[in-house]
């Protein structure tokens, strides 16, 4: 199992280590629900060293990425970031990713479990493009600082003004805990204001410890809470809301798909256009008053009629109920629809709702 440069720090902090995407990662340091609240109310620090980091350089880098990714990458302004997917010709996703537009290159952040498949797919479709693919996963690492207090905490250890000036889905280079030239992006997977920080392996420990020491409010947060935070915020997770049998159109990710003529053709374009024209199911949220937690694969029923299937579920401390995402038949996909969830042979009532469950900026009506 692969280890991030912070593995020893997690063990010293009492982190419970599990295998995730081929890496030994902390799932929690304390109660998961408290870690969720910590990020919603204060600020949390995450080790994201398992995420794949890849740079594509060369004159054709952008055109090449535009041929394999769903979003229109040539239109990303310098210093900005967009969400996109890699799909097969049939529209089924290989992975979802963030695309950072650099002056002479493109920087991609991909899922740990898909890193090898992504690199293989990228190499296979490089063709005649004048571009070089560099896998930076092993030589660098990645942290996230997320939560309402993240801006003031991060700003206190960075060059003055750099963090306050950073817009949503933008990145910059600043000094972090004395490490000059560190990339910081205002991105995250929690639904809170937050930042992702990219450092060389040798600097990882200094930045991790510097951020934990920067303010008494900072706590380390494991992948367990991260999953609940992203689900509350309605964000897709590869292997749950999107997978080889669930395309990004039905997952509600059309904002990351460009059919513009300027982008030209790309892998999966025609299949995803067709999927948008004739949807066979839709991704919805659901809540349940029952004590049982919805989990991936649980069936949904309307009477005896199958209605859909759960993708991800969690206990939501923010909403104080159990929540899930699910695919249902399009005609059922409206807020307020009442269905039953089959939990290992027993039924529990659920009510469908719009996604996201939680929005920092949009109060829930």
């Amino acid at each position: 199992m692969k280890r991030t440069p912070l593995h020893d720090c997690h063990e010293a902090l009492g982190g419970r280590m599990i295998e995730f995407g081929g890496w030994s990662m902390p799932v929690q340091y304390g109660p998961i629900l408290e870690e969720v609240r910590q990020v919603r109310e204060r600020v949390g620090l995450f080790d994201l060293g398992h995420m794949g980091r890849v740079r594509v350089l060369g004159p054709d880098a952008l055109r090449y990425i535009d041929r394999i990714a769903t979003n229109h990458c040539e239109r990303i302004p310098q210093g900005s970031i967009r969400y996109a997917l890699f799909c097969r010709p049939d529209g089924s996703p290989i992975d979802d990713l963030l695309v950072y537009r650099e002056p002479e290159s493109v920087y991609l952040v991909i899922n740990a479990a898909n890193t090898d498949a992504d690199l293989e797919w990228m190499a296979e479709h490089l063709g005649e493009a004048d571009a070089v693919i560099e896998d930076l996963t092993a030589s660098t690492t990645m942290l996230a600082l997320q939560g309402p207090r993240s801006t003031e905490v991060l700003a206190s250890v960075c060059s003055p003004g750099d963090i306050e000036a950073l817009g949503y889905y933008k990145f910059t280079t600043t000094s972090v805990c004395g490490v000059a030239g560190t990339r910081v992006s205002r991105t995250g997977y929690t639904g809170e204001v937050g930042y992702e920080i990219y450092v060389a392996n040798d600097d990882a420990r200094g930045v991790w410890e510097g951020l934990l020491a920067a303010d008494a409010a900072v706590r380390p947060i494991g992948l367990g809470a991260r999953d609940t935070l992203r689900l509350e915020a309605g964000m897709a997770l590869y292997g749950h809301e999107i997978d080889p049998t669930h395309n990004p159109v039905e997952a509600g990710l059309s904002f990351a798909i460009s059919f513009s003529a300027e982008k030209g053709d790309w892998i999966g374009r025609e299949a995803l256009r067709a999927a948008g024209a004739a949807p066979t199911r839709a991704l919805v949220g659901l809540t349940t008053d029952g004590r049982r937690v919805p989990r991936r694969g649980y069936g949904l029923f309307q009477g005896d009629e199958p209605a859909g299937e759960v993708c991800s579920g969690a206990v939501s401390p923010t909403l104080d109920t159990n929540i899930a995402t699910a695919y249902v038949r399009p005609e059922l996909a409206s807020a307020g629809t009442r269905l039953e969830m089959d939990i290992r042979g027993r039924r529990q009532a659920v009510v469908l709702c719009d996604l996201p469950f939680y929005s920092r900026t949009r109060p829930k009506s």
Partner: protein, 131 residues
């Protein structure tokens, strides 16, 4: 060393026999696997109705944490004659006291021998091998 006044099933249930009845519970190891020592992460425990008859190895309930669901398997053969009602509202006793207060069901044994179960020492060895 875990209590040697009872015997264990490989799936982490314990049985403490007294006359022709046995108390059944789940070991600290299994509870810890589910909630990592954070009792607030336990969300649900489903236990059977009294009167139900159980075979050895039969699933009699489920326990669920924020992270996972696990089956509860009967280490003995018999009829459920009492269920620990305190668990429903106080799941934390499963974590704080899995050996006494955290018993789950009381079974009237139809097969009194529990020689198919392992003793505390063998259970400890099994855990040591797994880690």
């Amino acid at each position: 060393m875990r209590p040697d006044d009872r015997k264990y099933l490989e799936t982490h249930e314990w049985a403490k026999v007294s006359g022709d009845t046995a108390l059944i519970g789940l070991t600290d190891f299994a509870i810890h696997e589910l909630c990592s020592g954070n009792e607030g992460d336990l969300v649900y425990c489903d236990l059977p109705e009294t009167g139900r008859t159980l075979e050895v190895g039969e699933t009699f309930g489920e326990i669920e944490s924020v992270k996972a669901v696990a089956d509860l398997n009967s280490p003995v053969e018999g009829e459920v004659i009492e269920v620990n009602e305190a668990i429903e509202d106080h799941l934390e006793i499963l974590s704080s006291d899995p050996w006494e207060q955290g018993w789950m069901i009381k079974v009237k044994l139809t097969q009194k021998s529990v020689d198919h179960l392992i003793d505390a020492e063998a259970y400890e060895s099994m855990l040591a091998e797994q880690s």
